[in-house]
Homo-oligomer: 190 residues x 4
DNA sequence: AATGAATGAGGGTTCATTCAT
DNA sequence: TATGAATGAACCCTCATTCAT
């Protein structure tokens, strides 16, 4: 009949929560460092230090630097796709509103997650292989509707413009950027 | 077979020529290796070995790996710009022919220098910082005519489509790719 | 299903029994792993995992990996000596039956405890220091009767042949092996 | 017609000789350290330090610690076999002289190369896998003449007695040790 | 100009061990 | 008693770079 002083299964939940917190700190530190310096210039020690844990702790949570990087990039991509599903898909059949919605989502994403965008696609990212996987993923989603060549072109354009915007929003009027994206997306479709 | 003639200025020219030959072999080896494996996965020893010289010799010709990489990338860019100057500039004032000419130059360049394109922009390139410098350079040339946003978008599109084409030409009909590039370039201009 | 009865001394015995069970599981897991991979290639985590307990639990039962290893080896040795006391000692004064009995015990031990034999003396054991302690122990028991040199020789021969037999019994007819051991043991004694 | 001031190909021979000297120093240092502490307790840094070179230099000469260890052990074995070929083989057909000659070679080898013997087979060697390969090699040479079981037994006996002798020659009269080895080798052969 | 042995900092990774819960 | 997250020392190994020849 032994009733624990603490409630329920708190004994097992506490370390679980501590683990999650450590993991979160590692992710946060990594995100900042990757965005600042690029994958190659950040060591697992740096990340551990940024998270305030010992070097070895890193490896209790991630196999290696690349796994963490990949995880962060693909999570960002997943969120981007969620936003597109929500905002763009309902507008199928209305090219102009859809194009505008898509441009809005992309720009908004860059504004909300500049750090992640710079991390994955920015200069010095040296992460081309992961960033490229992410872009390939986007291309694959567009190919059925646009064909291979056009899908490649659109994704290239978006990646570049979104990165540019994430690096220094305000270098051009927001509306101009939006309109550029919309024009390009609609071109050749009419 | 090299018999020292001792006539004219050959005394000074011979080593000079030998030096240039060594340098050329280093460049050729580096180009091949960078394209195959990316900047990060190639060591200065690898390049020296590919060129058939000793490890230390590399440093008699280049400050380091990055300098050589940068040199190769910017040379390629210079040639690309030369081709554009020759083929596109004379068509100023005729948007459609100019757009087609530009698309032709870009695709032709990818076909002639696939190795360099893959090296600078391909997946796993890890050379984003140099590749990005090269693209920034292209953006700067376009900005006066197209505005910042559109220049970014066009360059992103070209970089992506040209890399894709260099990696596997023939994945789509050449004419389709060309037409896609032309449409996007002309969009919003009318 | 464990309902605390609170009768007799069960209050103190229950945890005691649980502790012993955990310890036994750790020993069993270690024995298997050591035999498979050798001391060096097995971590304390591996052993804990094989026993189905947490990593830290290992250290509540053993000071470290080496202590556990040593314990297992010397226990095996103790059993071997028990068997020899039972089967060989009564035959003192009858060299041939004694030699045969000893060979039988050694071979039988290898058959019954192949795992332990491989663990202590097998290839890749890396445990020479513990295995050697065990063998030194056997040498010490033989020295009074056989002299140092002969004791060393006999123990070396036994260790090697027993390990070989444990690794693949049946590579030679059992009777041949027995006879070889007997001949060698009796040689020079007549 | 350029005649080098130094003779012949001295320019190419000098570094070659330096390399060989470094390699020799690494081998010598490793031999001493392995004999003292065993494979596992010696690091590549230790060996480099003992040889008076930088840590990385070790890897210019050996793939890793195990390769060096194996190289040293098998070289010793090769020399031992050379000695046996010279001293024992000519006596085929004369069991007693051959047995004595073999015992002499084994003991003499232990005396001349105590360091190597301790390294390969001594306590704490942790090198069972390499030492065992070496012993397997000896077993294979004996099997045709002696059968598997007897070959195993003889090799086990030799390894143990030779190691014991290498560790402390003089613990028993040399002649006693020799005679013990001879008796055991001849037993059952008559 | 070329060689190539050597350097040594520094990154990745493991794992025995501790300790708060 | 048991847990398991965390520690951090220590190892292995690579590679850009130097320098005596």
């Amino acid at each position: 009949m032994s009733v624990s002083v603490r409630g329920g299964d708190s004994r097992s939940r506490a370390p679980e929560r501590a683990r999650a917190a450590t993991r979160a700190r590692l992710r946060a530190g990594a995100r900042r460092l990757f965005a600042e310096r690029g994958l190659h210039a950040v060591t697992s020690h740096d990340i551990a230090e940024a998270a305030g844990v010992a070097a070895g702790t890193f490896y209790l949570h991630f196999r290696d630097k690349h796994e963490l990087f990949r995880e962060l990039v693909f999570e960002a991509l997943a969120e981007l796709e969620r936003r597109i599903d929500v905002s763009v898909h309902p507008l199928i059949g209305q090219p102009e509103p859809a194009a505008r919605a898509r441009a809005e989502v992309l720009l908004g994403f860059a504004e909300d997650h500049g750090e992640l965008v710079r991390m994955a696609f920015g200069r010095g990212s040296e992460a081309a292989s992961v960033g490229a996987d992410a872009l390939d993923h986007m291309v694959a989603r567009l190919e059925p509707d646009h064909g291979a060549a056009r899908a490649q072109a659109l994704v290239g354009m978006w990646a570049r413009i979104v990165t540019w915007w994430a690096e220094s929003p305000g270098r051009a009027p927001r509306e101009t950027v939006l309109q550029t994206m919309i024009d390009l997306q609609l071109s050749g479709v009419r």
